[in-house]
């Protein structure tokens, strides 16, 4: 009996000693501004939170919900967010304006933009856009891709009527507009959920190979605390890998945050998002410089940026490369 007590005492002493030697450091508080409202397109973040991937990196993450009127780049430049999910073109434009920001990972390897027409319209390819009304105005990404597509095909942009874009699909199904741009990860599933069979015209089939949302942070953060960015990306990478493979759990995690509590809708969104994230051509989060160069050229052509910007001022693929190599099977070394 005495021996057992002695052992317990020794054990407790050791525990105290060890814990005194290495007190667990307080988790780093970081704020992430996501691009849109909480829905399946951000499932990787929710799973990373739910599965404790951020905690494993000793990070305490606050997700700031986005939406119309929220500018993720502005949140970064104002210092309100440490990381942001943004459209690549906004990053180019911000850098063009003098901001020192960098993309360190791509979420969507393929842009989720798709142009949609009703079947009875017989509009099946961009050539059919001539003389039609297209709802894109107000959303730069859609305008850029439309213009780039028309440019690639040598079609006259002046021959189409551009009208303001709406996230609702009423004007399309009612015939007010002939073509409306959608995101395959949010608007399109909603339309399909409503039971509409539609024609889909992907910019990727017509020479436009832009990437979608990316992770942006400030150049100063990368300089001052590169380890923080790496830790964040490791958790991010694991979160999305988990979400692509364990879709039911990712969906459950999403439902805890989602604004629209519609399980089937969120499932459709997630199903649409996964092939754009995990393409079979790249690692999750990998940055494809060619795609970025193509975007850069398009932006320069279309006058969204005033000058040619070297890619290394815009992207830094090294972090995600390293994060991906250090992590496997949802775990990191």
């Amino acid at each position: 009996m005495f021996r057992i007590k002695a052992w317990i005492f020794t054990f407790l002493c050791c525990c105290q000693f060890l814990s005194a030697c290495s007190p667990p450091p307080a988790p780093d508080q970081i704020t992430v501004q996501i691009k849109w409202v909480h829905q399946a397109q951000s499932a990787g973040f929710y799973t990373a939170l739910e599965q404790g991937f951020f905690s494993d990196e000793n990070l305490q993450v606050t997700l700031l919900e986005g939406g119309s009127g929220v500018d993720p780049i502005a949140m970064l430049t104002s210092g309100q967010a440490d990381f942001a999910v943004a459209s690549p073109h906004t990053l180019f434009m911000a850098i063009d304006s003098g901001a020192e920001l960098k993309a360190i990972a791509s979420i969507f390897q393929i842009s989720p933009v798709v142009f949609v027409s009703m079947p009875q319209s017989a509009i099946t390819r961009p050539h059919d856009f001539i003389g039609k009304t297209i709802a894109v105005v107000g959303v730069q990404e859609l305008e850029i891709q439309l213009q780039a597509m028309l440019d690639f095909l040598g079609l006259d942009a002046g021959a189409v009527t551009l009208v303001p874009h709406s996230y609702a699909y009423d004007q399309l199904v009612s015939g007010q507009v002939d073509v409306q741009a959608f995101y395959t990860t949010s608007g399109l599933p909603r339309l399909q959920e409503a039971g509409y069979q539609v024609n889909l015209i992907y910019p990727g089939d017509y020479g436009v190979h832009h990437t979608g949302d990316c992770i942006v942070t400030s150049a100063s953060l990368l300089e001052q605390d590169p380890a923080l960015a790496l830790r964040f990306l490791r958790a991010f990478s694991r979160g999305w890998r988990y979400a692509t493979e364990q879709q039911d759990q990712a969906l459950q995690a999403t439902m805890r945050y989602a604004l629209e509590q519609d399980l089937e809708l969120q499932r459709s969104m997630l199903t649409a998002a996964i092939p754009l994230i995990s393409t079979g051509r790249q690692k999750i989060g990998e940055i494809d410089p060619a795609a970025w160069q193509a975007l850069h050229d398009a932006l320069l052509d279309q006058g969204f940026i005033s000058r040619s910007i070297p890619l290394d001022q815009v992207i830094d693929p090294s972090f995600i490369e390293r994060a991906a190599s250090e992590c496997r099977d949802f775990h990191c070394q």
Binding site: F152, D205, R241, S278, G280, R281, F330
Partner: protein, 687 residues
């Protein structure tokens, strides 16, 4: 139970020792441990050997299976490439393609050419050759799909794809990629289409039938039930559906140790946890030309099923062997411990006094020798103890004799004591008799007193009642004398005179007797009485007699003591009268004196009278006894009797000292104190 002649049929007393200290427990434990160790070591060795052998076999088998799959895969791909190449090299294909491109470039209506190309070539090829799903023809100049078996592809651009860019250069097969447009994984094999001048004008792209490819890869070797083969791309994603997966191709990644090792460029066989989390034995090979990994796996449970069976058999055999060894060991240990227990029991019995206890000897081993030694020892001990018993018996006899003598002495003493007790009892009996006699005496005294009282009463009553007839006799005699005085002669007178005199004497006697009896019946209680006053009264009563006789009465100072005053007066009166009566010639001189003794006063009345002859000292106190004739000294002779009676009533004594002619002295001894009881009894008697 193998006990000797003197043995008591005890149960072997195992409870005497706690089980952990018993030899049989130790022996059984050793036996148990060695048996267990033996069985365990045997099982482990056999199991490991079998396991290693099976593992080696499985490694070899899986390696060859995997290599076989690779061969199938590569030859299939190669054959599709060759097929595609031959197809593209067909003269009509080249011709129509060139025409279509020219037509498109010119901007004319090209549908006819396109339809012929499709109908006569591409669709036929898809229909005949089930290894392709679709065919495209991609214009070399811009990457646009100019025709396709699936019309939705027509007009789309594939300028950026590897299969287009590489297809311009020669035969190329691209690993599966996800096609957003058609919404599924695709795998293309491409080959250039040359113009007659040898210039590449287009690329023929065949969309490989992934199901066919997966079927080829999944085709079981028939050697295993859990065999699973699949392709994984460089990003860990499945390219073909695994055996236990559905919709896994390009949808699911696999991060098993085998795949990880494979993607690092290695080819090996290993045991690891697969995509299901099930432990498998897998063979994997990296195919750099396709940047894919071929994996063939088999569940470890199946691999080791034979050795699990063998293990179970081993365990069963082990348990049987083990049980047998336990049983054998048990009986073996009993062969050792039973004789020991017999010995223990025998020793115990021997110790309890059963000296004839012996142990049966069943073996010639050490225990047998030990048992024999024990028996020898018991025999020796028994002999010694027998001698000892004899000595003890002798001693005990002596002791008995001594005890008998002591008993005799004790009996004598007891008898003597009984005699003494009897004497004491006799003495007590005697005392009881005496007490009884005393009680009888007291009773007699009481009877006597009662009869005395009765007598007094009689005397009083008689004398009192006698007076009346006597008075009548005397009166009638006197009347007779007076009336017949003259008629009576002298004799008659004389006779009558005698009769009257007799009556007169009788009357005196009666009066005296009455006085005498009154001493007992007419008495007063004792009180402190001044004898001087009493003497004064007596002198006063006798004044006439004293003066008449010319007597001189002198007195000393007399004491005061408890007495009946009237009787005291009578006492002095009688004694003084007596002294005067019996005077000599000279005038009487009476002297009254008192002498104090320890508890009494002696009052003396002495005179100078005629004195008394000592022989009459007693007689003079008896009633009606006279020493002299009536003529010499008148009186009835009652005075001293009354006096004595008064003295006796006062518990005193009276006696006389005298010599004839020398006077006499009457001495009265009176107690200083009177007992009250006497007084009471006297007064009681009076009532």
């Amino acid at each position: 139970m193998r006990m000797g002649k003197g043995s008591i049929p005890h149960k072997r007393n195992q409870a005497a020792l706690p089980f952990w200290r018993r030899l049989s427990t130790h022996l059984n434990l050793y036996n148990f441990t060695f048996s267990l160790l033996f069985v365990l070591i045997s099982v482990v060795i056999a199991f490991n050997n079998s396991r290693q052998a099976i593992l080696n076999d499985t490694y070899n088998l899986l390696s060859s299976v995997n290599l076989n799959k690779i061969n199938h895969f590569e030859s299939w791909i190669r054959s599709q490439e060759e097929s595609n190449q031959f197809f593209a090299a067909r003269p009509q294909m080249r011709e129509y393609t060139e025409k279509l491109i020219e037509c498109l470039d010119s901007g004319g209506d090209c549908r006819d050419i396109e339809q012929r190309l499709l109908a006569d070539h591409l669709r036929v090829k898809v229909t005949i050759d089930g290894d392709f799903d679709d065919f495209f023809i991609i214009r070399a100049s811009d990457g646009m799909v100019i025709t396709a078996t699936d019309p939705s592809h027509i007009g789309k651009f594939r300028e950026h794809t590897a299969f287009f860019q590489q297809g311009l250069l020669g035969n190329y097969t691209e690993t599966a990629t996800y096609d957003v447009t058609i919404g599924k994984a695709e795998m293309h094999t491409t080959t250039p289409i040359y113009a007659p001048d040898g210039k590449v004008i287009a690329v023929l792209s065949g969309h490989l039938n992934m199901e066919r490819m997966a079927a080829i890869i999944q085709q079981s070797s028939g050697l295993s039930q859990t065999e699973d083969s699949y392709l994984v791309n460089q990003f860990n994603y499945f390219l073909t559906e695994p055996h236990y997966g559905d919709q896994y191709a390009l949808r699911r990644a696999v991060f098993s140790d085998g795949v990880r090792d494979c993607l690092a460029g290695n080819s090996d066989v290993a045991e690891y946890s697969d995509y299901r989390g099930v432990t498998v034995i897998g063979s994997f090979h990296w195919l750099p030309q396709y940047a894919v990994c071929m994996v063939s796996e088999k569940d470890r449970a199946e691999v080791f099923a034979p050795i699990f069976t063998m293990r179970n058999q081993f365990i069963l055999t082990g348990v049987i062997l083990f049980s047998a060894s336990i049983v054998v060991g048990y009986f073996l240990s009993r062969r050792i411990t039973n004789p020991l227990q017999d010995l223990t029991l025998a020793a115990k019995n021997f110790g309890a006094g059963e000296l004839s206890t012996r142990v049966d000897i069943h073996s010639g081993n050490e225990i047998g020798v030990f048992s024999a030694t024990f028996n020898q020892m018991a025999a020796n001990m028994e002999g010694l103890l027998a001698k000892n018993d004899a000595l003890v018996t002798e001693l005990s006899e002596l002791n008995q004799k001594l005890e008998a003598r002591v008993e005799d002495r004790t009996r004598d003493l007891k008898e003597a004591r009984q005699a003494a007790e009897k004497n004491l009892q006799d003495l007590q009996q005697e005392m009881i008799h005496r007490q009884r006699a005393q009680q009888d005496l007291a009773l007699k005294a009481r009877d006597l007193q009662r009869s005395n009282q009765d007598l007094q009463q009689f005397a009083y009553v008689a004398s009192h009642d006698l007076q009346e007839p006597l008075r009548m006799v005397a009166s009638y005699l006197q009347l007779l004398e007076q009336r017949y005085d003259d008629k009576l002669d002298d004799d008659a007178h004389e006779f009558i005179g005698y009769a009257v005199d007799g009556a007169a004497r009788m009357k005196t006697l009666i009066n005296d007797l009455l006085d005498f009896s009154r001493v007992g019946t007419r008495e007063s209680p004792f009180e402190l009485t001044d004898l001087n006053a009493v003497l004064g009264k007596a002198r006063a009563n006798l004044r006439l007699r004293i003066e008449e006789a010319g007597a001189i009465v002198v007195s000393d100072e007399l004491p005061t003591l408890p007495a009946d005053p009237p009787q005291m007066v009578q006492l002095f009166q009688n004694l003084i009268d007596n002294a005067i009566k019996f005077r000599a010639q000279e005038p009487p001189r009476v002297r009254i004196s008192a002498v104090e003794q320890a508890d009494e006063w002696i009052i003396s009345v002495s005179d100078n009278g005629i004195g008394i002859d000592p022989q009459y000292f007693e007689r003079i106190f008896i009633i009606f006894q006279r020493l002299h004739t009536r003529q010499a000294y008148p009186g009835t002779g009652i005075g001293l009797a009354i006096t004595r009676r008064i003295v006796e009533r006062h518990n005193g004594r009276i006696w006389v000292t005298s010599e004839p002619g020398q006077g006499a002295a009457f001495h009265v001894a009176l107690p200083k104190h009177q007992e009250e009881s006497h007084n009471i009894s006297e007064t009681g008697a009076d009532q």
